[in-house]
């Protein structure tokens, strides 16, 4: 049963990836200008643009360009960045992606490590004491933070902690050899921004799910039996709420992968999302595609985990009629 679901998922995922690649290709072609024009900018002459186009293989019809790309990708070759090629010998995209993927993965993992326990804890606290001042202040704070866009949170944090207090750097300027405390301090600002944004959602959902379970008949039974409240929540309610909570966490981490786009840009963090924005600005089709494929795959995997968690935690879904 599980294997069939897995295989089915894999097939759908590949189709999704292909559709995304087609959409991105159409999108980059709809944008005004091509990579040759953009590299040359105001310096472009018809002659120099034509020379660069020929060098980059842009003189061929778009469909042919796409098919060449698809064929190479199917054989595991992501190609060479067109912008890089226009600017010299060109770097294979795989080499460009390496450090960027590492940076983005490092940031999102650190955020997850901080955000998930903190928000589960706060969510449970709020659920254990519904209607109290504590619960209300948590709810008030999270609702407010959910309503604020990420770039505003980021800018406000920069103004307070970097410009005002001078505690933290306002951009992430990596030397490459940071470890431990120095690394945390360097990454603190984008981490803080993302933790704030991701946690609010998880806190809200954890609270709602646990409270939902708390109103079910078997909990009422437990209460009538005289089981202490703490034990009811941690022993009975939480386990039944695990499925939906994992679901929420996975969905939020998937959101996180998209959320880094704005955050990386604001903190000038050399991650995958910033590379993708630069690639779009350059109309560098193979590079945009490569970045998009990675984002899309991450998204699909996380959604898959979310679905699996729901199915595994709910026997009724495990054995459909």
């Amino acid at each position: 049963m599980l294997w069939r679901a897995l295989l089915g998922r894999l097939g759908i995922s590949l189709v999704t990836l292909w559709i995304v690649s087609v959409l991105i290709f159409i999108g980059t072609n709809l944008l005004p200008g091509d990579v040759a024009q953009i590299i040359l900018g105001q310096m472009a002459t018809p002659e120099s643009t034509a020379a660069l186009r020929a060098k980059l293989g842009l003189d061929k019809p778009p469909i042919q360009q796409y098919l060449v790309w698809l064929q190479n990708v199917a054989m595991g070759d992501l190609g060479i960045s067109k912008a890089g090629l226009g600017a010299g010998l060109g770097t294979p995209i795989v080499e460009m992606l390496g450090p960027r993927v590492f940076n983005t993965a490092r940031l999102t993992l650190l955020v997850a490590v901080v955000a998930v326990p903190v928000s589960l804890f706060l969510g449970l606290i709020a659920a254990m004491h519904p209607g109290t001042r504590l619960d209300r202040s948590i709810t008030f704070a999270t609702l407010n933070l959910i309503s604020v866009p990420d770039f505003l949170v980021a800018t406000a944090l920069v103004l307070v902690f970097a410009v005002g207090l001078g505690w933290l750097p306002s951009i992430v300027y990596l030397r490459g050899d940071e470890t431990g405390w120095v690394l945390i301090k360097t990454l603190a600002m984008p981490m803080l921004t993302l933790v704030i944004l991701v946690s609010s959602q998880i806190i809200r959902m954890t609270r709602a799910t646990v409270l939902n379970v708390m109103s079910s008949p078997y909990i009422e039974m437990a209460i009538l039996k005289g089981v202490p409240r703490k034990r009811i929540i941690l022993r009975h309610a939480l386990f039944n709420a695990v499925g939906p909570i994992v679901n929420v966490i996975a969905l939020n981490l998937a959101w996180l992968v998209g959320g880094v786009v704005v955050v990386e840009q604001i903190f000038s963090y050399p991650g995958l999302a910033k590379l993708m924005i630069e690639a779009v600005l350059m109309r560098d089709m193979p590079l945009v595609q490569a970045c998009a494929m990675i984002f899309c795959t991450t998204y699909i995997v996380l959604i898959f985990i979310a679905d699996m968690a729901t199915i595994l935690s709910n026997p009724r879904l495990r054995h459909p009629k």
């Binding site: 024009q37 920069v158 000038s268 630069e278 560098d284």
Partner: protein, 525 residues
């Protein structure tokens, strides 16, 4: 000489002007050439320089197309790296005068078709190889090769050949006279690299050696201990990066994360100065303007263009939007920053809504559409002001806002009315030729004038300053009345830096003194 120092100090503080300074040097028995260089260094006399320290420089744009190959450079970050790593044959000083760099000296024949360059001896590349004539020839041939990707290929369209005369002499032959060739050789793209260089990291002779380079991330550079001249090289290390978002860039400076940021906007100046940081504001020919294409409607209608000229409230644009860091434009590119070639006799085009109304009525149009992208600091505000002023006289200007990315390929030189920005060029002639010359690739208002072609050619050969000035005046008048360019303002080049960093020059040809700051600046305390 103590007197020299005193006079340099006085010049820097504005107590004596340039002419008085040079006269004083003459009185002290110093030759004109030496005096010129003393003048150049006078602006860098605020404190005595100290060795050591490093700076982080944040440009405005970078990406996967960042390059160390000089011929492909197209952005501030590329030009800055080129000036840090390489030298050119010829360099331009703050006063726009030309001086030999890797060429010790050069000579030209009477009709400006043959140049001979004496290559400096005792210069070595970062990999230890000595500089010789064949390196120069190889570097320059890269611009003229078939299918060359050089971004200034068109500058060298008239080159027949670069020829080695002996190990330290190079001869250049041209198919048509070109007195501006030395100026073209000062461009950052025309830097000299080692023959057959594949790896750009060690291919230069410049003041700093590249240690690390990642396109779209950063590069790091350390002092070249075998540099061929003594220009200070005060800094131990330089890091070059970019922060694309303007507010993030400003915050990075304010928070001390970086030491220098380029391309600040006039609106940010107050904030920067009140936070104890320094602003570098250098008057320049850099301008923002509106292109009306003369080969199509509505730009082919002279009354329409004249009406749009008269509706520009230029004083207000400079005062309000540039906060005074700019000069009023007169619809031709040559402002006071170009020195003697600027035509101060030409009357300033006034803000005159009545006359504008008259011309616009006569044009028969009551509505036009202008494509606007934020290509220059104040251009959007300028267009909005123009829209409001036109509305008062019953004319509807529709503004079509478009993004900057893709703008130069998709809108500029294509849509009938669009906005433009042009950097200053080293000479008035170079600027005029590139935008209005008969063979210019960037004739962005599609205005062709035979008279303009003749004047451009003759003024290059004219040696009498008065006659030359007269010719430039005629050209400026032609452009400001007949072409389709409207130039409401010229902006100062605006950068900001940590006040600990000193020694910037005021060359108006690019950010931070023409992008060539690496070997001159130092950091105190």
């Amino acid at each position: 000489m103590k007197e020299v120092k005193t006079f340099q100090q006085m010049y820097r503080d504005g107590h004596v002007n340039r002419r008085e300074f040079l006269a004083a040097m003459g009185a002290l028995g110093i030759t004109a050439t030496t005096a010129g260089s003393l003048l150049g260094s006078a602006s860098a006399l605020a404190a005595s320089p100290t060795r050591g320290g490093s700076v982080i420089f944040a440009s405005n744009l970078h990406g996967p197309d960042d390059t160390l190959d000089p011929i492909l450079g197209t952005s501030t970050i590329d030009y800055t790296r080129a000036n840090t790593m390489y030298n050119g044959l010829i360099q331009v000083w703050n006063d726009m005068s030309l001086h030999g760099e890797l060429a010790e000296e050069w000579s030209v024949n009477d009709d400006a078709t043959e140049y001979t360059f004496k290559i400096r001896k005792g210069v070595s590349f970062h990999d230890g190889h000595p500089l010789e004539a064949h390196d120069v020839i190889w570097s320059m041939n890269r611009h003229i090769a078939d299918g060359s990707p050089s971004s200034i290929k068109s500058f060298f369209a008239n080159v027949i050949e670069w020829k080695e005369v002996d190990k330290y002499t190079v001869k250049l032959t041209l198919s048509s006279p070109d007195a501006d060739m030395p100026v073209k050789l000062t461009q950052p793209q025309a830097k000299i690299v080692r023959k057959n260089a594949m790896d750009w990291w060690k291919a230069g002779t410049g003041p700093y050696v590249t240690e690390e380079f990642q396109a779209g991330v950063k590069s790091t550079h350390s002092r070249n201990n075998n540099y061929w001249r003594d220009t200070g090289q005060w800094l131990d290390g330089i890091e070059i990066t970019a922060i694309t978002d303007p507010n993030a860039r400003l915050n990075a400076l304010l928070a001390g994360s970086v030491d220098m940021i380029t391309s600040i906007s006039a609106k940010q100046i107050k904030k920067i100065e009140s936070s104890g940081q320094s602003v570098l504001s250098v008057p320049s020919g850099l301008y923002g303007g509106i292109c009306c294409l003369k080969n199509t409607a509505p730009g082919d209608n002279d009354d329409l263009v004249q009406g749009l000229r008269l509706i520009q409230d230029r004083e207000r644009v400079v005062r309000k939007f540039l906060k005074g860091h700019g000069t009023v434009g007169n619809d031709h590119p040559i402002n006071v920053a170009y020195g003697a070639d600027h035509c101060h006799e030409l009357p300033q085009i006034p803000y005159d809504p009545d006359k504008a109304k008259y011309h616009l009525n006569k044009s028969g149009y009551s509505e036009v559409e202008l494509y606007v992208a934020p290509v220059s600091g104040a251009i959007e505000d300028t267009c909005l002001l123009m829209q409001a002023n036109l509305k008062k006289i019953g004319f509807n200007l529709k503004l079509k806002k478009v993004p900057t990315d893709g703008y130069w390929g998709a809108v500029w030189m294509k849509e009938p009315l669009n906005v433009v920005t042009w950097n200053m060029r080293p000479t008035a002639n170079a600027m005029m030729s590139i935008q209005f010359g008969p063979n210019g690739n960037w004739n962005d208002t599609f205005w062709n004038s035979d008279r303009m072609g003749v004047l451009l050619k003759d003024s290059l050969a004219e040696t009498d300053p008065a006659k030359r000035h007269e010719m430039h005046c005629e050209m400026q008048k032609l452009v400001s009345t007949e072409s389709g360019i409207i130039i409401p303002y010229h902006t100062n080049i605006l950068d900001a830096h940590n006040p600990q960093i000193q020694g910037f020059s005021n060359c108006p040809l690019g950010q931070f003194g023409g992008n060539g700051w690496a070997e001159h600046i130092w950091k105190t305390g």
